[in-house]
């Protein structure tokens, strides 16, 4: 690793890998930092060394990732796995920990490709052991060939159905799918059907997934309007409300999911401008045509700048990579535009399905703004809805004040699992738009940093 790079890319998912490939093609001195032990991001997790499971389980979309990881490996960029980037300053000073030691380096350009995370799903009992996310089920399947027999899946969104389908392909029994997609979403989504039909592959895939789930005889319970997880030391049952009645299913494993949202911790901590995306119900970094954020020299590529999916992320990575090369001075405007053209066309095509998906799988309010007093919002500091209501009642005007009032968002996850809920909950309680409530002010380190590492931090000059 060097103390200075022309381009530093944070994240080795589709966007980061594609950006690295572009940069390396022009010989720019580049580095890719990624927290996982192998490239691929969450979507192509463990694609180089998949668990010993029948290839068909994951489907061809997954295996597309191995092309990208190979490109990254061959690119000539320094690829640093197991690297936790805990700060990027607006002047592009990067603090990273590898193998337990922290260091600082600098870059002319930075591309943040930190992807997405699953939207919080605050329901009573969601902190019980063995209540996990659908994404975690997929990670365990991809990286460890582990699956939970007889699990209940609950929520909404393409990933939920995909993981259920993958479980079924792997021969694992699924006890039930509790679908929280409100019926009204279907009617609203129908308006976007024409656009979606211009990207029929996604519709066909979706229909195949649902047909597969039906064919396997998994109870698909639609119209679920409320959920709670029950158990003492771990989850033992799920209760759900449908048509006004509560039903109970015994289950020792539950997977929740209601869509993915941009992972904004790094971009916020850099000081990049963000905006509330009402269609996707999330905060996202503001970017220009080349993915550059409001902070000069910092670009955001992939789902971090709004959810568009893995293939779109790849195009965005290329575009951001070309933008960075142009700003470095490696390529001219003409070369940049020419090479970006196919990626732009690809991105446009990938985005056609989004309005349909965003409308159909828009999570219903009661699962975003928890109505039950006892529901834990901040898992780290165990702050529940009642505590937040009380704080707002005595004049707490936003997420940052809430921290002082209640320690909400002050734990090690640094708001990743409560930030969206808190923004929307305060907006609801104060009757103000979420965009006015704002988000946590995030500051480095964006991941807990051992004091010893900080104390022994080497400045770039001393690292040579």
């Amino acid at each position: 690793m060097k103390s200075h790079y022309q381009l530093a890319i944070i994240g080795a998912g589709p966007a980061g890998m594609a950006a690295a490939a572009e940069a390396a093609a022009f010989g720019a001195a580049s580095v890719v930092f990624d927290e996982q032990p192998a490239p691929g991001g969450q979507i192509y997790r463990a694609v180089e060394t998949p668990a010993a499971v029948d290839r068909a389980v994951f489907g061809p979309d997954y295996w597309h990732g191995s092309k990208l990881t190979k490109t990254l490996r061959d690119s000539g960029a320094d690829y640093v796995p197991g690297a936790t980037v805990w700060q990027v300053s607006p002047t592009r000073e990067i603090g990273v920990t590898v193998d337990g030691s922290a260091m600082l380096l600098t870059a002319d350009q930075v591309i943040v490709a930190t992807g997405a995370l699953e939207r919080p799903f605050p329901v009573p009992g969601w902190t019980l052991p063995s209540v996990m996310t659908a994404g975690s089920a997929q990670v365990l399947l991809k990286s460890a060939a582990l699956a939970a027999d007889g699990a209940v899946f609950a929520g909404t969104g393409p990933l939920l159905y995909l993981v259920v389908w993958q479980y079924l392909q792997a021969g694992v029994a699924v006890k039930a799918v509790l679908d929280t997609t409100p019926r009204s979403n279907y009617f609203r989504a129908a308006r976007h059907l024409a656009g979606a039909l211009r990207a029929p592959q996604y519709l066909i895939k979706g229909i195949q997934l649902l047909r597969g789930i039906n064919k396997a005889g998994v109870p698909l319970i639609r119209g679920v309007t409320d959920l709670r997880m029950l158990g003492e030391d771990a989850v033992s049952a799920v209760e759900y409300q449908r048509g006004g009645d509560w039903q109970r299913i015994e289950a020792d494993q539950v997977f929740l999911h209601q869509g993915v949202v941009p992972n904004v911790n790094l971009s916020y901590s850099i000081g990049c401008g963000h905006t509330w995306n009402e269609a996707q119900l999330c905060w996202q970094a503001i970017t220009d045509l080349w993915g550059e954020s409001t902070v000069e020299g910092i670009a955001i590529a992939g789902d971090g700048a709004g959810i568009n999916g893995a293939l779109a992320a790849e195009h965005q990575g290329r575009i951001a990579g070309l933008g960075a090369l142009y700003r470095i001075g490696t390529i001219g405007a003409h070369e940049r535009d020419r090479r970006a053209a196919p990626a732009r066309a690809g991105l446009t095509a990938e985005r056609r399905i989004r309005p349909f998906l965003e409308t159909l799988y828009r999570p219903v309010k009661c699962f975003r703004v928890p109505p039950h007093d006892e529901t834990v919002v901040c898992r780290c500091e165990e702050v529940n809805v009642t505590a937040i209501r009380k704080a707002v009642a005595v004049g707490c005007v936003g997420p940052n004040q809430l921290k002082s009032f209640s320690r909400c968002g002050m734990g090690p996850c640094q708001g990743r699992l409560c930030g969206l809920t808190v923004s929307e909950l305060i907006a609801d309680l104060t009757d103000l738009p979420v965009s006015e409530i704002g988000y946590y002010r995030l500051r480095p380190p964006i991941k807990p940093l051992l004091l010893e590492e900080l104390a022994e931090l080497q400045a770039p000059a001393a690292m040579e």
């Binding site: 010993a52 975690s136 365990l140 060939a145 582990l146 090690p412 699992l417 807990p448």
Partner: protein, 108 residues
Amino acid sequence: MFTKVGDGDRDLVKVIFEDKEIMAPPGQSVAAVLLAEGIRSCRETPVSGEPRGPYCMMGICFECLVVIDGEPNQQACMRTVREGMLIKRQHGVAQIGPDAKAESDPAE
């Protein structure tokens, strides 16, 4: 309860969770290995002491904190198992400092 859906792994490594020996496939995360053993919770929270287990499996939720080779606050989903790794539950507030390490490190 998680079970293996693929072929069996070879060249297993031995790790110890609390007092239990576990043969684990190399390259896997500590969290995956614990879940495969039927260990559902790995810590108690410092606030109320309630049990928690892995949640996101991608390093963001900090629910799967354990003590590894005497080092507290380790994300089990982000650490890969190694031969001889000593894993302990994290009870409430992580003990830190030289005493905590000596207690759980057999080498000392």
